[in-house]
């Protein structure tokens, strides 16, 4: 076969930048100072959590290391709590819990939301869509607390009942967003091109459409991460939170009594760490959203 159209220049000889959408995003992200800082903070938390997980530090979180409400000292950096546990250790240990809750919930809720949302959107108007919409409506109608409590009962004693409850509730937002986006995207010509080639529908959904909702998914995952951490705080206050271990939520609910007694260490330690992570994640997700905004990336 001979090459036709020989007058056409070889493409890409002088194309501006050969970066992919992602590396362009990364490039933009790297130039975003706030974004980088927030990422650094998040990574620092990850390191802390990993260290806890590997048993490098905060191993003494359950011990009675001192007396009641000891003040800050070289030995107890944030003092001790009412039963004499080291608050610093407990706050550090809680980092791990936050990631366990946040990551598990964020990843699973987003994945489920993406899959169901994409399927519903792609087959919008069909019975499959109706069923998924119905499910979303149903799950949305049950007040969150009630629902979490109900799942906690149903899975009596299961250490993941809280996770499951959150996932079952949180996937809906991702699902609705993805569904809307997919309805828009499926009218795109590249989807039609897939049909024209005879691609199976599921290939079209999962290889062609879903990747193009990644900006939504990423941002939604980070938001869910934060929401899960924060919900854990409230659920712990209600006694529906983590079973074993420690979390900032538990520390804060402990402290809500103590601040009255003028003892703020528990409160400050947990709030500061929680605040730092949530804030960093917020800024991080903002920066990510900007970096991956197709309007500013794809202009060539």
């Amino acid at each position: 076969m001979s090459t036709v159209a020989e007058e056409l220049p070889a493409a890409g000889a002088d194309d501006a930048g050969s970066a992919s959408l992602w590396s362009k995003g990364l490039y933009k992200f790297r130039r975003d100072r706030t974004g980088m800082w927030s990422l650094a903070v998040v990574l620092a938390y990850v390191v802390i959590a990993a260290g806890v997980w590997l048993g490098f530090w905060a191993t003494g979180w359950a011990d009675l290391a001192g007396g009641k409400w000891e003040p800050v000292s070289a030995q107890h950096w944030f003092g001790t709590n009412i039963i004499g546990q080291d608050i610093f250790d407990r706050a550090i240990y809680s980092t791990k819990t936050s990631f366990e809750v946040g990551l598990v919930v964020a990843v699973l809720a987003t994945v489920i939301g993406a899959v169901l949302g994409a399927v519903a959107g792609f087959f919008s108007g069909s019975w499959l869509d109706e069923v998924i919409l119905w499910l979303m409506g149903v799950l949305d109608s049950i007040p969150f607390l009630l629902f979490v409590a109900a799942i906690a009962y149903t899975l009596q004693g299961n250490p993941y009942s809280m996770h499951i409850a959150m996932i079952v509730t949180f996937w809906i937002t991702a699902g609705r967003l993805v569904r809307g986006e997919v309805i828009k995207l499926k009218e795109m010509e590249y989807v039609e091109a897939g049909h024209a080639l005879g691609l199976p529908e599921f290939t079209i959904i999962f290889r062609h459409i879903l990747p193009n909702t990644s900006h939504i998914l990423l941002v939604q995952a980070t938001i869910t991460f934060v929401a899960a951490i924060k919900s854990e705080v409230i659920l712990s206050f209600l006694g529906l939170g983590v079973k074993d271990g420690m979390s900032w939520g538990l520390m804060i609910s402990e402290s809500s009594q103590e601040v009255l007694a003028g003892f703020f260490n528990n409160f400050l330690a947990a709030s500061a760490l929680l605040f730092g992570l949530v804030m960093a994640f917020n800024l991080f997700s903002d920066a990510l959203q900007d970096a991956l905004d197709p309007r500013t990336v794809s202009e060539s």
Partner: protein, 323 residues
């Protein structure tokens, strides 16, 4: 010859991009005289829309900015004019029609509301007066049953009608200059013909100047008195329309005219094309930007930038096609 209505000198517009600063418009100078229609043509991405937008101070900031030059209009330099004053000028002195009629109109207001709003911004009219005027104007641009149509929403109109509403809005304040940015690209030829007809008619009626941005040379040939050819951020040739089509001087203009598929000719095997492609705005060659694709290239072209020598009929070329 009368004083020019608009005098653009060395206009430069830059955009910040992740790879660096892009100079989308680089030292453009031209004059527009009252009541004339000037075509602005050129390859996609050469800076036509950006030039048009900068006349109204609508360059998106950030990432864009006017990096230099002046736009003299009615005795003042629009580059230096404050946003508040620009607002006064927009609509009443300079208007613009955008390419996509569906999205350029606000989908949730009736066209009546939108037109009345614009009218009352610039003229001291009561709501009822403004409405009457709007209906008049719709009639002018050839919308049938304007009194009924004015109550409709953009999505209830056809593409051609929407475009005509845009024109009506643009004209309703009696601007002295209208920038029409590819007003007919989305339309089929009969509708396109109607729209262009309309612009022409109204231009005479309202005595305004029009800058018509398009890549359709047929449209330019039919509507304009004069045309400017842009290439890669610069105006490479400007000439009265007959002259341009009969004796294009810049090799790029030549190439462009040659590429046009024409009707009623012996169907050629291959259409002529300009070989090569537009240089990357980030990595511009030091000399003439067309040099790499030019058949008539000289050594000098690769080192030096040619300048546009005249205002009304000139080509920025060291080795132009002999006249």
């Amino acid at each position: 010859m009368t004083e020019p209505l608009l005098r653009v000198r060395d206009l430069a517009v830059e955009f910040d991009t992740e790879q660096g600063v892009v100079r989308a418009v680089d030292g453009v100078s031209f004059d527009i005289y009252p009541e004339e229609t000037v075509g602005l043509v050129g390859e996609s991405g050469c800076g036509k829309t950006v030039t048009g937008l900068s006349l109204l101070g609508l360059i998106p900031q950030p990432p864009g900015r006017i990096a230099g030059g002046s736009i003299e209009f009615g005795g003042r330099d629009l580059v230096q004019t404050s946003e508040d004053e620009m607002r006064e000028i927009r609509g009443s002195d300079i208007s613009m029609i955008f390419q996509e009629p569906m999205t350029a109109l606000n989908p949730v207001f009736t066209i009546g509301t939108q037109m009345v709003d614009v009218l009352r911004l610039h003229k001291p009219l009561s709501a009822a007066q403004a409405r009457r005027e709007a209906i008049d104007m719709l009639g002018h641009v050839g919308i049938p049953a304007p009194a009924r149509r004015i109550e409709e929403y953009p999505h209830q109109l056809s593409g051609g009608q929407r475009q005509r509403v845009m024109i009506a809005m643009a004209l309703s304040c009696g601007p002295k200059l209208l920038v029409a940015d590819e007003p007919t690209t989305a339309l089929d030829v009969t509708t396109q013909a109607q729209v262009l007809e309309q612009i022409n008619k109204l231009q005479e009626e309202f005595r305004m100047a029009v800058i018509l941005v398009t890549h359709d040379l047929g449209v330019v040939a039919e509507t304009c008195r004069r045309a400017m050819v842009m290439y890669c951020g610069k105006i490479v040739e400007t000439a009265p329309i007959e002259e341009l089509f009969a004796r294009p001087r810049h090799p790029y203009t030549m190439g462009l005219l040659n590429s046009i598929p024409r009707i009623h000719e012996q169907r050629p095997e291959r259409l002529p094309v300009i070989p090569g492609r537009v240089p990357d705005l980030l990595h511009l060659p030091p000399g003439c930007r067309f040099a790499a694709r030019c058949e008539r290239v000289l050594d000098r072209c690769r080192a030096e930038q040619p300048e546009l020598s005249g205002r009304d009929s000139a080509a920025a070329c060291f080795n132009p096609e002999p006249a």
